[in-house]
Symmetry: C2
Subunit: 228 residues, 2 copies
């Protein structure tokens, strides 16, 4: 018998089961079949500014033995917004409070901000893929039990889409390809350079930041579509 190390709530499990059922309906090469066509369920979510953190840095900020605890489960299986938040301090002592940490803990600590946040902090954060933090600016992070000087890791996350191989097959996309996302609203935009991340564990979900989401008023969008 195996046990799961991360407790998973019913809604996440249900999403995974529904996804598996949809994929069983897909034909082998991913092309939509005439009869029971695989219909991906495209979800676009805004990632507000947040932090990913290593276990070492977590303990530095929250004390020895600290662990991330679940505030809210996210759409991707196993991912969660943690109860833990920090204060971030840029040069010239400008700060943003209550920046939420996302769990589980990772190998490298990084802070993902929108351009508006970067301007507020006075940090020129480059557009980067998650984990690609070499040569990026750092900042000061303040937790309840300590202060962390991040030498690097402040980025604006490259807009990206998580998808399963079945989703990729449906759209004809490949892992690490750039595609476009059109969001139709009273202020329609097409976002180019949306990076595809294909993995069997992923549910189909685009992540954009608050600037991108607000530029097109995503919460009131009438239609979203992925384009080559």
């Amino acid at each position: 018998m195996t046990t799961m190390s991360i407790p998973m709530p019913r809604e996440q499990l249900e999403r995974i089961v529904r996804q598996a059922v949809r994929e069983r309906l897909a034909v082998g090469d991913g092309a939509p079949a005439a009869g029971a066509a695989y219909r991906p369920n495209l979800v676009v979510n805004i990632s507000a500014r947040h932090m990913h953190i290593s276990q070492g840095d977590l303990e530095r900020l929250f004390g020895p033995g600290a662990e991330l605890t679940v505030y809210r489960w996210l759409y991707q299986p196993g991912e969660f917004a943690a109860e833990q938040t920090v204060t971030v301090l840029g040069p010239r002592r400008r700060m943003i409070e209550k920046v939420r940490i996302l769990g589980p803990a990772r190998d490298a600590t990084q802070l993902e901000v929108a351009r508006t946040d970067a301007i507020a902090l006075g940090i020129d954060a480059p557009v980067r893929r998650s984990g690609d933090i070499e040569g990026t600016p750092g900042c000061i992070v303040i937790g309840p039990a300590g202060v962390l000087e991040m030498p690097r890791g402040v980025i604006r996350a490259e807009r990206h889409v998580h998808m399963s191989p079945a989703d990729a097959g449906y759209y004809g996309f490949e892992d690490r390809q750039h595609v476009r996302l059109r969001i139709e609203s009273d202020c329609t935009v097409v976002l180019e350079q949306v990076f595809c991340r294909v993995d069997p564990r992923f549910l189909l979900e685009v992540h954009i930041d608050t600037d991108e989401g607000n530029s097109c008023d995503l919460p009131n969008a009438r239609r979203v579509e992925l384009l080559a």
Copy 2:
């Protein structure tokens, strides 16, 4: 002899002269000529949150006889950011300080905010053309000499492009048409529904708001282009 009622700085006069010279080089129907082709000078500027104000409301906020004074001249001839700023208060007492007024004074008072500002204020500001404020939400405005209760006029300005008839001819656009703007950067976007405003007094300039400008990192854009 005539005199100008609004003092105009040298840089604005120079822009107007340059525009007139470019237009003289354009052929009559606006199509680019083979020899001396008219080349429009496309400028894209971010309009930060700001207020337009009637003379009556200006005096209510700044006292009897108050007049707008020039803080900085804008790109469009005669338009300026005023030295006067106000504090804006939304429901649930959320506020934004130092909102700049743009001059000259107009017939109707209106507050133009980005979606991010609207969320900060707690006001659901609709996308509207300047002046089209019927049925829009209001707010409280606080000046040094008084308080103004705006019953309506809080909008997110529809992205738009100012252009002369020669510019319109070059692109093949018509007044009040919707066109697209592509901004190429590390996070390229195509903004649809850009409203054309054609007038002989206009210089070619797109106005987008801070959310739109930050979504594509406009200050570091490599290329901007208007598309049908």
